[in-house]
Symmetry: C2
Subunit: 101 residues, 2 copies
């Protein structure tokens, strides 16, 4: 199991556009059984932060999905709308309830 | 939908015990249909951080679940094992794939 917590910070006023890009590009994962979760969410107490929670069957499957050339224009379009680089936290699921357990 | 990203920092050497407490107390949510996700995970690049991802049908259902007196001894036992208070990030899901969408 491969679980990543990604925090992206949009430039002021750009969050909705970044979220749209993330949702549109993420439709690529809809039919991919290796993708168990791809949640795009906006921080409630911050105007610019976006969180993406990725749960994949393996790191390799995730890496392979990200190599799809269809994603390139989305990445090129979205990167300039961000403050700096996304902050990624890799976590190891230990249990509980949901698609990673 | 109510989504919370919780970061807990264990005191040095206490992470496994905190995770055990979180998993054991979390079995309370197994039969609760309002709990869509309760993922307990350990940060891979940090020795002390624990992440708990909560996805609930509503904030009220989550608050009600946390009022169960069964949880009190776990909270009393776990709090002294933590550095400071858990850091909670409340997020609004916008779409994607998984139990929050």
């Amino acid at each position: 199991m491969h679980v990543l917590l990604n925090r992206l910070t949009a430039k002021p006023g750009q969050r909705a556009l970044v979220v749209d890009n993330l949702l549109e590009s993420g439709t690529l994962f809809d039919g991919n059984p290796a993708c168990l979760m791809y949640l795009v969410a906006e921080a409630s107490e911050d105007a610019d932060d976006i969180w993406v929670i990725d749960v994949w069957t393996s790191e390799e499957e995730h890496a392979e999905a990200l190599r799809d050339p269809v994603l390139q224009p989305y990445i090129s379009r979205t990167t300039p709308l961000l403050e700096g680089m996304p902050e990624q936290t890799h976590v190891e699921p230990r249990g509980g309830k949901g698609p990673a357990t």
